[in-house]
């Protein structure tokens, strides 16, 4: 980045916000169609009943909850990268923090859909809100689902605000280079940013505080999500390892998703000079760590099951590994804990095709991890007479496709409307300009 000047940074990043071409619009239209498919499937489900999905007795939770956990997990590394790495002054985050945060916000938004889609009676979902009412009915705060609601909405609020706070100087930069309605719109969101010392002081403080505030959420949100399972009595769920296990898995999947998204992004937006291979290498090293933690969790679930000497626990883990769930189980183990070990090789870490391939495999593996956990335990719990199985229906797959399209549509719009890299932070990384002109030097 040595050869960059402030002006060149602006130019490199902001040129991506120009009027979109046909290819961009076509992709956006395709994604919108996918969202529409999902919406129509949901409409059908509301009209006919949850039975259009594959859920049954005993597997009352299906792919919706799998995707819920999957997307909440994806949401994690955004905050990890932007907040925790910020606090640790890990400079490699600068180039990827913006996209990672955007991914977080969109992933939480996507995840938040699923508890709603999954409800048997969405039309009375307001019963979950603690509003005063004549009947003195109150939600049950013992229920992990209430924890979920609080945790997810907190996380969405904080991560959106954090993201927005970081965006303000960049929105001002876009405003300054734009005209007409565009200028007024960006101006509105730039909140009257005038690049003053006071602005910067407040901004930097606020960003730091938000980073500090968001950090515990990285741990708490997925811990809370894990309690949906860990606080139950079901074998394979009722385990204290769940919170750290889920958090590690979440970061694992989130990092993989960041890599998956950034590789095409840098290609499309020609950002190779800013999002360098060194950054990917560092991300890959973190993936090794999270992959090892996840692998450790897989191993220790087995150890604990056998150590507990509980018939039910041992049976469920055998069922997963060598029984009816062996297929998904081994996909999970191989993709999540074995494949990432390839990153120990420097050549693999620094090869874009390898990076993309492995990160995609981790995404698949993390989906299967949730599938294995959520489906297998209840399919094979205490009473053998009540054992069952589950397979997603067409409607559920339609909604899943809709959700993926929903996420990618938001991300696609993001790449065109918001600077995908923090202009201000990149400039901090640059060497100070040698000649100080008297006038305006580069626009922030």
């Amino acid at each position: 980045m040595k050869e960059f000047t402030y002006a060149k940074v602006n130019d490199t990043i902001l040129r991506n916000l120009s009027r979109p071409g046909a290819a961009y619009l076509a992709v956006a239209a395709l994604l919108a169609c996918g969202v529409l498919v999902g919406a129509l499937c949901w409409r059908h489900q509301i009209l006919v009943g949850i039975g259009v999905g594959g859920q049954n007795n005993p597997v009352a939770w299906g792919i919706y909850l799998v995707l819920f956990v999957f997307w909440v997990g994806i949401a994690h590394s955004g905050t990890l990268i932007s907040a925790i790495l910020y606090l640790f002054r890990a400079r490699f985050r600068t180039a990827v923090a913006r996209s990672a945060e955007a991914m977080t916000v969109f992933a939480v938004t996507t995840a938040g859909l699923f508890p709603l889609i999954h409800l048997g009676r969405i039309w009375v979902v307001h019963y979950m809100l603690p509003f005063p009412n004549q009947r003195e009915l109150w939600p049950n705060f013992h229920s992990p689902l209430m924890f979920d609601m609080v945790a997810i909405s907190t996380y969405l609020t904080v991560s959106s605000l954090f993201w927005f706070t970081g965006l303000i100087p960049d929105l001002a930069a876009v405003r300054d280079s734009a005209t007409g309605l565009r200028r007024r719109l960006y101006g509105l969101f730039a909140l009257g940013w005038d690049n003053s010392q006071r602005n910067w002081r407040h901004h930097m403080r606020a960003y730091l505080f938000f980073a500090a505030l968001a950090t515990p959420l990285v741990i708490s949100v997925h811990s809370v999500v894990s309690w949906d399972f860990a606080l139950s009595v079901i074998p394979g769920w009722h385990s204290t390892i769940f919170a750290p296990y889920f958090v590690a898995g979440a970061i694992h999947s989130g990092l993989a998703m960041v890599i998956t998204l950034l590789i095409p992004l840098r290609k499309v937006q020609k950002l190779e000079s800013i999002i360098t291979i060194d950054i990917f290498e560092k991300l890959a090293k973190v993936v090794i760590l999270t992959g090892l933690i996840v692998g450790y969790a897989y191993l220790f679930e087995y150890f604990m099951a056998h150590y507990s000497d509980s018939h039910f626990e041992i049976d469920i883990f055998n069922f997963r590994a060598v029984g009816g769930f062996a297929g998904p189980f081994w996909i999970m183990v191989i993709c999540n804990s074995l494949v990432p070990l390839l990153f120990f090789f420097r050549r693999v870490r620094r090869s874009i095709p390898w990076l993309l391939g492995i990160s995609l495999l981790i995404n698949v593996g993390m989906f299967y991890e949730r599938y294995v956990i959520i489906i297998s335990s209840v399919a094979h719990d205490f009473l053998p007479y009540a054992w069952g199985s589950y397979f997603p229906s067409k409607i559920e797959i339609g909604i899943a496709i809709g959700a993926f399209c929903w996420f990618f549509l938001f991300f696609w719009l993001f790449t065109r409307f918001i600077p995908t890299i923090s202009i201000a932070e990149i400039k901090e990384e640059l060497p100070k300009p040698v000649k100080l002109a008297g006038g305006v030097h580069g626009s922030h």
């Binding site: 049954n56 007795n57 005993p58 409800l119 048997g120 979950m128 606080l231 018939h311 009473l383 007479y385």
Partner: protein, 965 residues
């Protein structure tokens, strides 16, 4: 104006305004404001006594009438046959009444191929005209009747100058009657009573499911095997392991068609083992000795595929027992030998009362039915009246003969294969809409009365047969109930003579009249063995097929009922279709897998059927249930399964068949996730103390988790070390249930009762395959492979835990622990997260994945006391909270507490085995409190600390004592 008046006024004006506004559509009122029918009080039920006519047993039932509709059938507690219990088929009689396939109007077929609906006047005119034309070559073929309706039919027939009336039942027990005639000199079916026997052997008689009078025999069986008293041993010998066999101490697998060999082997062994001959008449003793003198028990046993030592051991047990009793069916020779054993041991006179023959004794024997068919085929019958029976389905060859009869009139309540072939169909009332009488056995008369108004466009039999069946015009018109009642009264032969008209109403209210003293019977039972000898059957070796009456569809008459299709078979756990039972050895040999479709080929026909692999059938035999394979019975039954009666030529067994594979596999809609309990100790058992070498209760300790003590879900049982949350306080009652697994026979009467009481939808085959069945109570069937017969039944329902996992996880408190310990489900509050179901260790919660419709008029059966749940909400057993609330009302009006036993949930009420007990744990004197202290008591998954309110009593596994040293 106070609040009440205000509400009344608002309601009144609101209703009036609504009524005025909706003038376009005629107002349809549930109960008219003016001239409301008598006996209808909104919200209050009336009970009408009548007789269950679903099978020939003749149980007494009470029909619960709410707002002029029958919503539930329960056994009449005073009735001597069933004493308040009612089997699943009996309860499903409601689905006959409300069948969407009821005949709505008379139909006439002339030149054209299909019947056309016609008016009643025209139909009756045609009926009378054809009868006049055909007289006297008229015959009546009717389902079993022996009271008022039999009388009407006979009278009508006599007017036409004929007396050819046959009461036809597909299951006519000819073999039993023939066996009784030869061995005991009685060509009858006796009233059985083996409740005080100490050893029972059944040879192919499935008396807990369908055989003769299952509810009554179940009661006797459980009385003989009462876990509290001296327990009778029970051994079952048969080709397949029926539900009756599953309740035995030992199942002896017989080769198909060799029941008589086994039976005679045993007779010979008994004669040797018990030379005293007990109470048998001396003449008979010599006859029997002569009969078995040349028989070699070992060879006979081997013919039946039984170890000779087993027969020896069995004979020894019979000889050692005070009162052993052998029931038999299958073939007449087997029954002869069984009866001779009973005669030899002196139990024949004690357990079989021939002075009170059963109604089934009046059923036409196969030979006379065949004679009628021949006459029909020969053109000797000009007009045939078929009344409430379906021989085209159940009698192979009948359809061809029927084609030769110039005029066929079918009098039935719904369309059948027979009515489809008729020239004239006349819809007749079901038993629940008619006056009538039925004599289940001599000395006992059931009275039937209309329990509600007609549902379909049918008429009572007396109105159809009038005027010819209505001898005295002075007695009024047959449409006039009081005239019918008078006629019914005059036709009744009560023990104390004719019923006085003023007594008729009280008789109807009671539902039956019984003679107190035993009628004079035959002086002695003497065998008619002249010229009789054991002859080995000529059964060809090879694969044979056995068809057996189904617990759910009986002989096929109950096949068009969604309840009977959806309640799983107690052993195969399959719903909505039939199957062919194949032994695992044969399946392995022929590479058959569960659900493989085979083309079964018999001399009687062929059919596609799915393979169900079970060790509960002799390896050289395959078995299929009776009852399906209908073509024109109704929308639910048509087109599924195979007609086993046709396949076996009506004989229920046929040899030399083949079951070639088709290569297709069609998964069964079965409801069991696993046949085995995987050593989890869910349905627990103990071995009988002091049994034959198997040790006491501690011998079973290895079955895992039994060590957990029973923790009764009341405050005093709260243990701060085990319970995180504080104890629940309970007002006055803590409802709970005790289920005695030693009594439970798996018959599913409770399931039917629950379905009827709680408006549980039948979801259909597709939904069952998807795992969306809705029953609140299910009979879990586990197979213990190491044991014989090794079947465990466990009724599983909401356990109403004190520490309910479902309650904690619901975000909106829809599952809620109430002040009487009930785990209530508040449907209105439920948002459908299904977390409760996920977290329920017993998996008893049921989710409404769809909005389930009931085909009208089946919806008329819905119990108005219970909400019909909408899509998207969770539901489960409520311990029949509506009945608890009802008891509260009564108790409060009478200013007292609810008495123990006052609340009886539907399942407990129906149970023929009296396995289910209900009450409050807060009352230390209550029945369940005492039972909970039994040494057999345990809670399912007690180690989870949920403290279930349902406590089970372990099954006692008894040693049959047939081990060969």
């Amino acid at each position: 104006m106070n609040r009440r008046d205000f509400l009344k006024l608002t309601g009144l004006t609101g209703t009036a305004a609504a009524a005025a506004a909706c003038s376009e559509e005629p107002a349809r009122l549930l109960i008219p404001f003016l001239n409301a029918p008598e006996n209808i009080v909104p919200g209050a039920a009336s009970w009408f006594a009548t007789s269950c006519r679903q099978c020939p047993a003749g149980c007494g039932v009470l029909a619960r009438n709410r707002e002029a509709r029958i919503v539930k059938l329960e056994g009449n507690p005073d009735h001597p046959v069933n004493r308040g219990a009612l089997c699943a088929r009996g309860q499903a009689g409601l689905q006959d009444l409300y069948s969407p396939d009821r005949l709505q109007s008379p139909g006439l077929r002339q030149a054209e191929a299909v019947q056309k609906p016609i008016g009643w006047a025209e139909a009756l005119a045609a009926f009378q005209a054809e009868a006049a034309k055909a007289a006297p070559k008229i015959a009546v073929l009717s389902g079993l009747e022996n009271g008022f309706h039999a009388d009407l039919l006979a009278h009508w027939l006599a007017r036409a100058g004929s007396s050819q009336i046959l009461f036809y039942e597909p299951l006519s027990y000819d073999a039993v009657r023939e066996g009784n005639r030869i061995a005991l000199g009685q060509d009858l079916l006796p009233t059985y009573d083996f409740s005080s026997c100490d050893f029972l052997l059944s040879i192919a008689a499935d008396f807990l499911e369908t055989w003769i009078s299952p509810v009554e025999l179940t009661r006797q069986f459980t009385a003989a095997r009462d876990p509290g008293g001296p327990k009778a041993g029970f051994v079952f010998a048969g080709t397949r392991l029926s539900m009756t066999g599953a309740n035995a101490d030992r199942w002896i697998a017989l080769r198909s068609g060799r029941e008589k060999d086994f039976s005679f082997a045993l007779l010979a062994a008994v004669v040797k083992a018990a030379p005293a001959g007990a109470a048998s008449a001396s003449g008979a003793r010599e006859d029997v000795k002569r009969l078995v003198a040349k028989l070699d028990p070992a060879a006979l046993a081997r013919r039946a595929d039984v170890e000779p030592s087993v027969v020896q051991a069995l004979a020894a047990r019979i000889a050692a027992a005070d009162r052993p009793f052998v029931l038999a069916d299958g073939d007449a020779d087997a029954v002869v030998a069984a009866n001779l054993i009973n005669l030899w041991t002196g139990s024949a006179a004690a357990c079989m009362d021939f002075s009170r023959p059963l109604a089934l004794s009046g059923v036409a024997k196969g030979a006379s039915v065949r004679a009628l068919v021949e006459k029909m085929a020969a053109g000797d019958i000009r007009m045939l009246v078929v009344h409430k029976t379906n021989p085209v389905y159940s009698l192979p060859g009948f359809a061809e003969a029927l084609g030769k009869v110039p005029f066929v009139a079918v009098l039935d309540s719904f369309s059948t294969e027979t009515s489809q072939m008729a020239h004239l169909t006349l819809p007749v009332h079901t038993a629940y809409e008619s006056f009538g009488s039925f004599v289940p056995r001599k000395g006992l008369v059931d009275l039937m009365q209309p329990t509600m108004g007609p549902v379909a466009g049918s008429k009572p039999l007396e109105a159809i047969l009038a005027p010819d069946a209505w001898p005295e015009p002075a007695q009024g018109q047959p449409q006039d109930p009081s005239a019918v009642l008078r006629r019914l009264g005059s036709a009744l032969e009560l023990p104390e003579g004719k019923a006085a008209p003023e007594k008729m109403l009280s008789l109807l209210a009671r539902g039956f009249a019984e003679e107190q003293r035993r009628p004079a019977g035959p002086a002695s039972l003497s065998p008619q063995l002249d010229g009789y000898a054991y002859r080995a059957g000529e059964e060809p070796d090879g694969l044979s097929l056995v068809a057996y009456p189904s617990l759910r569809w009986f002989d096929g008459r109950d096949a068009n009922k969604t309840w009977m299709l959806e309640i799983p078979d107690p052993l195969s756990m399959i719903t909505w279709e039939d199957w062919i039972e194949v032994h695992p050895e044969r399946a392995a040999r022929e590479r058959l897998a569960e659900g493989d479709l085979v083309q079964i080929q018999t001399p009687g026909g062929r059919a596609l059927i799915g393979v169900h692999i079970t060790a509960g059938v002799h390896p050289e035999t395959v078995a299929i249930p009776l009852g399906l394979g209908h073509t024109r019975l109704g929308r639910f039954a048509d087109g599924i399964g195979a007609n086993a009666l046709a396949l076996t030529g009506g004989a229920l067994r046929v040899a030399g068949i083949s079951i070639p594979k088709t290569g297709e596999n069609r998964p069964f809609a079965h409801v069991d996730g696993s046949r085995s309990q995987h050593g989890r100790g869910i349905a627990q058992s103990i071995h009988e103390a002091g049994g034959h070498g198997h040790g006491g209760p501690e011998a079973a300790a290895g079955e895992a988790h039994e060590e957990f003590p029973v923790r009764i879900p009341i405050e005093t049982a709260h243990d701060p070390k085990a319970d995180i949350y504080p104890a629940h306080g309970h007002d006055k009652y803590r409802w709970g249930m005790v289920i005695d697994l030693d009594r439970c026979i798996g018959c599913s009467a409770c399931v039917a009762a629950c379905i009827a009481e709680n408006n549980i939808p039948s979801v259909g085959r597709k939904r069952v395959l998807e795992g969306r069945e809705m029953a609140w109570i299910r009979i879990e069937r586990y197979v213990e492979e190491q044991e014989n017969p090794g079947i465990r039944f466990l009724p599983m329902l909401c356990q109403h835990c004190d520490n309910a996992p479902c309650e904690a996880v619901c975000p909106v408190y829809a599952p809620h622990h109430d002040k009487e310990g009930l785990n209530t489900q508040i449907y209105n509050r439920c948002i459908g997260t299904r977390f409760c179901s996920q977290n329920c260790p017993y998996k008893v919660r049921r989710f409404n994945f769809f909005h389930y419709e009931r085909t009208p008029p089946l919806n008329m059966q819905l119990n108005p006391d219970v909400t019909v749940r909408t899509k998207g909400v969770m539901e489960k057993c409520s311990f029949c909270i509506q009945r608890i609330k009802d008891a509260h009302q009564t108790a409060r009006l009478e200013k007292r507490l609810i008495r123990d036993g006052e609340v009886v949930p539907a399942c407990a009420q129906a149970c023929p085995a009296r396995a289910i007990h209900f009450g409050s744990y807060l009352d230390p004197e209550s029945g369940i409190s005492k039972l909970a202290g039994d040494e057999r008591a345990y809670q399912v998954l007690a180690e989870l600390g949920t403290k279930p309110a349902v406590i089970y009593l372990k099954k006692i596994v008894r040693n049959a004592g047939l081990e060969t040293a």
